[in-house]
């Protein structure tokens, strides 16, 4: 029989199994963010030409560990916590299959450690993409496979919890939107993991010598079904966090449940097809396949993102106006709690994800334009705009609420927490911009030394390219300080935080029970401030897109 406790802040009945699992998954996520973040700093400092911290071997080792630990381990562990939170707690249900859920946790941990050990040993520096015919040691692949099987079990628990919650009528009508967003993430995750199995199991056998060879193009097509889709799991989970935070801080209901759910449906239908954008310069695949999967399908998925980008701030605006912040276009925004890291992290995540990650992604996903930036530093610039200042920042903002609430402890360093989202968001946002700048000047990604000091053939990059890589290093340091403060705060709160005074807590969190746990729209579309902001975004989008066509036309002179 499942046991429950009542959360003093929210009134939620919390299944004790879900409680423990959320905590363990979240803490483990943060530990891997720390490990992966340190490797990231080492990479950035190596690519800062004046510093050039690591030797070539260590650089590729650190880059492999960085990609694996932050992109896969940090994000997916945190998403497991979110899946249990949004199913069991938001639906007021017991968590289904708790034993399987523990198997999820343990398998992922064993897998993550196994792959890290393989990488640190130095014989598996194949980057997290592990393109064949570069071969890693068998335990590198085996670790990723175990990790993925664990994640699949987490999805099973999630869907089983949806099922029993529905059967036991723990909620009325349709499931709440936050849970629907998490379900979108879980659906994409199932496809992600199955594709991963299809490609990594044969690759494991190949590294053990049972299979002679694996076709490079075949590998890339199937691998990216996993590699790209896993990013879409992050996006869906991040947007579920946005809706959750709007509900938690402002008791904001979505402007329209129908519209928001349809936008998530676009994700389910189309996001994963965009995997093809990683193969836009690969010969052997037809333009029909490329363009159908990237342009047609991807634009529908992008439409989904733009809908969320409109309705999330719209929901906040509607809720703030209802509270009386009605003056002019932007009083609702000015009077928002900018000193609360839950809000500032959320707001920065929304803006930076749209401007840095979103616009550049559409540009790169265009078959013709892709050639300008493919495999340059522009690519990591783009995805630090999505997965770092978008997803990671959203997860940080969520943690500032989730951790004190679940553990019933005060934040350890509330003063530092106020600044943390700005430091991390602006530091990593700038890093993203500088990487894009360097990429535009032709600097390749995954490259130990662009000065080619020990090479027979050299290539002179413009001085500005060196400057961009240096600025990137400085920005990475600022972002790194922001990341360190987050980790310090979380670990400090969990292990050494003061127990919460029930009263002070209740004032901070007005009525989360409402909007996060029920179906229902705000019942208004009167959000003029949000529409103005959306127009600014669209203008930037269109201008940037056309500038890049112009730029493409300059790449090869025709005379």
């Amino acid at each position: 029989m499942a046991q429950f406790r009542t959360c003093p802040d929210t009134g939620f009945a919390i299944d004790l199994n879900a409680d423990k699992l959320i905590k363990w998954n979240a803490v483990t996520a943060v530990v891997f963010l720390l490990v992966g973040g340190l490797f990231g700093l080492a990479v950035a400092l190596t690519r800062w030409p004046a510093v050039h911290l690591l030797g070539a071997d260590d650089f590729y080792l650190a880059l492999t560990a960085h990609g694996f630990d932050v992109l896969l381990v940090w994000c997916i562990y945190f998403e497991m916590a979110l899946l249990y939170f949004t199913s069991s707690i938001l639906l007021k249900s017991r968590l289904a299959l708790p034993k399987i859920a523990w198997a999820q946790y343990i398998l992922m941990l064993v897998g993550a450690i196994m792959t890290n050990v393989a990488v640190l040993r130095g014989d598996s520096s194949v980057m997290f993409t592990s393109y064949v015919p570069m071969m890693a040691a068998p335990d590198f692949y085996l670790g990723i496979i175990l990790f993925a099987v664990g994640a699949l079990l987490g999805c099973v628990v999630f869907f089983a919890t949806l099922y029993i919650a529905k059967r036991d009528n723990t909620y009325e009508g349709s499931m709440p939107l936050v849970t629907f967003g998490a379900m979108t993430a879980a659906i994409i995750a199932v496809f992600t993991i199955l594709s991963g199995a299809v490609i990594l199991v044969p690759t494991l056998f190949w590294s053990m010598g049972f299979i002679g060879s694996i076709d490079g193009l075949m590998y890339r097509v199937v691998w990216w079904a996993m590699g790209h889709s896993s990013q879409q799991v992050n996006v869906a989970a991040q947007i579920a966090c946005w809706y959750a935070i709007a509900a938690i801080l402002f008791n904001a209901s979505p402007l329209s449940e129908k519209v928001s759910r349809t936008a998530f449906l676009f994700y389910i239908l189309f996001l994963q097809l965009a995997s093809a954008h990683h193969l836009l310069v690969d010969p052997g695949l037809s333009s029909e396949w490329k363009i159908f999967n990237t342009s047609y399908a991807m634009y529908l998925a992008v439409l989904g993102s733009m809908i969320h980008g409109l309705t999330v701030p719209g929901a906040v605006e509607a809720a703030q106006r209802k509270r009386g912040f009605n003056k002019g276009l932007f009083e609702w925004l000015r009077k928002a709690p900018w000193g609360n890291p839950v809000f500032s992290g959320f707001a920065l995540s929304l803006v930076l994800f749209g401007f840095l990650g979103g616009i550049t992604g559409v540009m790169m996903g265009t078959e013709q334009l892709n050639i300008i930036t493919h495999n340059t530093m522009y690519t990591p610039g783009h995805f630090h705009g999505t997965v770092v200042v978008g997803t990671t920042l959203a997860f940080m903002a969520m943690s500032y609420w989730l951790v004190p609430t679940l553990w019933q402890k005060e934040l350890m360093f509330p003063g530092l927490a106020k600044w943390q989202p700005y430091l991390f968001g602006l530091g990593m946002g700038l890093a993203s911009v500088f990487m894009m700048g360097a990429g535009t000047l032709g600097v390749p990604r995954r490259h130990w030394d662009i000065s080619f000091a020990d090479a027979a053939m050299v290539h002179e990059f413009p001085a500005a390219a060196y400057m961009m890589m240096g600025l990137n290093g400085i920005a990475a340091l600022i972002g790194g300080v922001g990341g360190a403060i987050f980790i310090l705060n979380m670990v400090g709160t969990v292990f050494f935080g003061k127990a919460k005074q029930p009263k002070a807590a209740a004032a901070e969190v007005p009525n989360i029970g409402g909007a996060a746990t029920t179906y229902g729209s705000a019942g208004t579309m009167a959000v003029p401030g949000t529409f103005v902001l959306a127009l600014v975004f669209l203008t930037a989008f269109v201008l940037y897109y056309f500038v890049n066509w112009k730029y493409l036309s300059d790449v090869w002179g025709l005379s």
């Binding site: 659906i187 449906l265 093809a276 695949l285």
Partner: protein, 53 residues
């Protein structure tokens, strides 16, 4: 939360809402669609590439 109750009661549930309320149907669509359009179509193209003599 004004239209909270509109999800229940009066008349048949619209088709679109039935779809959105069916996690397992969505799961099948979400896995099936990219499998066919991205993976299977992509692999068919690779397999059709002639091998160099």
């Amino acid at each position: 939360m004004s239209d909270h109750k509109s999800t229940q009661g009066e008349g048949p549930v619209p088709l679109m809402q039935q779809l959105l309320d069916s996690p397992f149907l969505l799961l099948i669509i979400g896995v099936g669609m990219p499998t066919v359009i991205y993976i299977i179509w992509g692999i068919m193209e690779i397999v059709a590439i002639p091998v160099a003599p």
